[in-house]
Amino acid sequence: MTNQIRPSSLYRRHIIKAGGLIAASSLLSGLPARAAGKKRIGFGQPDRTADFFHGFINAVHGEADRLGYEVLESFSGPTPEGQMSELNAWIAAGVDALVVMPSDPNAIGGIVAKCKQKGIVFIGYANIIPGADGYMKWDDPKAGTAVGELAAKHIQEKLGGTAEVALLTLLTNQATRDRIGFSRQAIEKALPGTKFWDTEAVLAPEALKATQSLLQAHPKIKVIICCADDGALGARAAYLNSGLSPDNVFIAGFDGSKQNLTLLKQKDKFIKASAALDIAEVGRTVVDIPDRVFHHTGPTEVTIPYVIVTPETDTGTIDGLLKVYEV
């Protein structure tokens, strides 16, 4: 038997070769070309799944165009190691500034030191990073406290002063821990005897399952505080289909997602609050802070406040927050 190359394997090799060429040319064409004279900002925010992302990144690029910068977007995914290699690649490529939401804030020191060494401006996004040239973060403790106070008021006014409260959190993130932790503190302060049931769930499908289980065990739960609006939608779906009375249910979340704000505008029976960020303002600040560092103008440490949206909030304010989704 001779060792012949069969036509099928030749065919396969051609396919692989052609595929490789297509992939290589796509990669090359996708590489950001350096715009002449423009400073470059690497924006390490790897969560591209949120429904506000498209409007948010448009706001980032809009501000960059206005001020004359080029912004490189992150595609590293959520793992610290993926983020490290992306940041190292940007440093090697000679970016002028990095704005980074660290996957692990305690493991970013090496990158900050490398930036200092190479004269690259480093800005913490959603975190205060030691040694950084500035930061932007949101006031999660204040928003958590405000949502907790709203929940406590609801319990006092609608539930006779006692209630079982479910808390859906995400433990690996400082922002979500603060949101839920400060909400709990505010409720405990106003109503010391309140019973809490907490579990980990952040996305809608997880929150749906967690709330279904919680409502089976504790059908008296009327107040559910979720660390993100997506989770609040899952909790809402679970309550809606539980057969329990929808009267005086209070579900709250954070972020200001499109569906939650729309439901609040429509005076939904379940979703009663969302601590919303002005996403367009956040997007603009991503470029503004490094610009201020370069030009020594204005504050470089910025805490962006939340807008607490309830069914009573005027529609003009809600529409203003919803504008970022009109893309």
Partner: protein
């Protein structure tokens, strides 16, 4: 009869782990063992369970599909976009199912026909299908699909949630194929020794191809169920689902190398994970400890299963040594039919 029951019990150690788990939570929470909560547990595992049926067949055949979570979201957002475009409920459902099935065809063609690596291709699908879903939707969630579509995820038939009926139908169809048709032993043969299976005339390419198609279809059905439950086709649908499906399959005793496994084991494995998650929430275990508890319980359950298998081998090898025992050793039967 007693003997057959004993043999079945010894081959299904996970079943007893499941019983122990249920008894533990029953004693810990008065509301765990209620009809309503059992229905909730079954509803919660139904999506992962129905995707695990073709998934287990793939693993039995020596293949794997790591793209199921992303195909789930692709099916969901295709449906959502079609509804947004006002194509009507029926057309939108068909398009959602077609999106997942088409991705299954692509997986099957690349892997089973062109011999690409199953892990690489489906890992590519894991990123690619979710990326496509994000590209199509720009991350926006479509919502408000109306009461008719809500029946799929939230309706009940004879006090049992509709997703549970769908899961039951898929499982029974899968069990029929696995245990009652030549396809079951063929899958085990392909997974155990592909070249030998090919020499015997078994369709070693066509069968895995159709299994990938079935996996894509099942994933998109799962996506539609989740969309119905949430009344929204969120891009967060199906995140991490491939791990849930694979955990159920492997915990159920299907060998990752293929050639051996039981679909009933997969059923027990899937329910085990659902009951564990539900029970931990019910007894209010700290979220900090929940992941640890899940890890410990999974290792204990897998250990119990292995212990049963070893006891099984010891007992039957003793019997084989005993010339007075007229019953042949069960371990001589082909593994796949157990």
């Amino acid at each position: 009869m007693t003997r057959a029951l004993l043999e079945w019990a010894q081959r299904n150690g996970l079943f007893f782990a499941l019983v122990i788990l249920f008894v533990f939570f029953w004693l810990s929470s008065e509301r765990f063992m209620t009809t309503a909560n059992i229905a909730v547990i079954l509803q919660q595992v139904s999506v992962v369970g129905l995707i695990a049926v073709p998934g287990a067949m793939l693993v039995l055949s020596g293949y794997v599909d790591l793209s199921v979570g992303s195909i789930t979201v692709l099916g969901a957002v295709t449906f959502g976009k079609a509804m947004e475009a006002q194509l009507g409920l029926g057309v939108s459902i068909v398009l959602g199912l077609m999106a997942g099935t088409a991705w299954g065809v692509l997986n099957g063609y690349l892997i089973a026909i062109l011999n690409f690596s199953p892990i690489i291709v489906t890992l590519g699908g894991l990123a690619g299908a979710r990326g496509l879903a994000q590209l199509v939707t720009h991350g926006f969630t479509q919502f408000g699909f109306g009461p008719t579509f809500a029946i799929l995820g939230n309706g009940e038939l004879l006090a049992i949630p509709v997703p549970v009926w769908i899961y039951a139908a898929v499982f029974l169809a899968g069990a029929h194929v696995w245990y009652q048709t030549p396809v079951g032993p063929h899958m085990a043969a392909i997974g155990g020794a592909r070249d030998a299976a090919r020499a015997l005339g078994i369709k070693t390419r066509t069968l895995p191809f159709w299994l990938y198609v079935a996996s894509g279809l099942a994933s998109s059905v799962g996506g539609l169920i989740v969309s119905s439950e949430l009344d929204g086709s969120s891009v967060s649908t199906g995140v991490g689902m491939e791990l849930d499906v694979l955990t159920g399959i492997l915990l159920g005793g299907v060998a990752f190398t293929g050639g051996r496994g039981s679909l009933f084991g997969v059923l027990f494995g899937t329910i085990f994970i659902g009951a564990l998650t539900n029970g931990l929430v019910q007894i209010n275990v700290s979220p900090y400890f929940q992941q640890v508890a899940v890890g410990i319980a999974l290792v204990l359950a897998a250990g119990l299963d292995v212990l049963y298998q070893r006891l099984d081998r010891i007992r039957f090898s003793d019997e084989a040594d005993d010339p007075a025992d007229p019953v042949p050793a069960v371990s001589q039967q082909p593994e796949a039919v157990k």
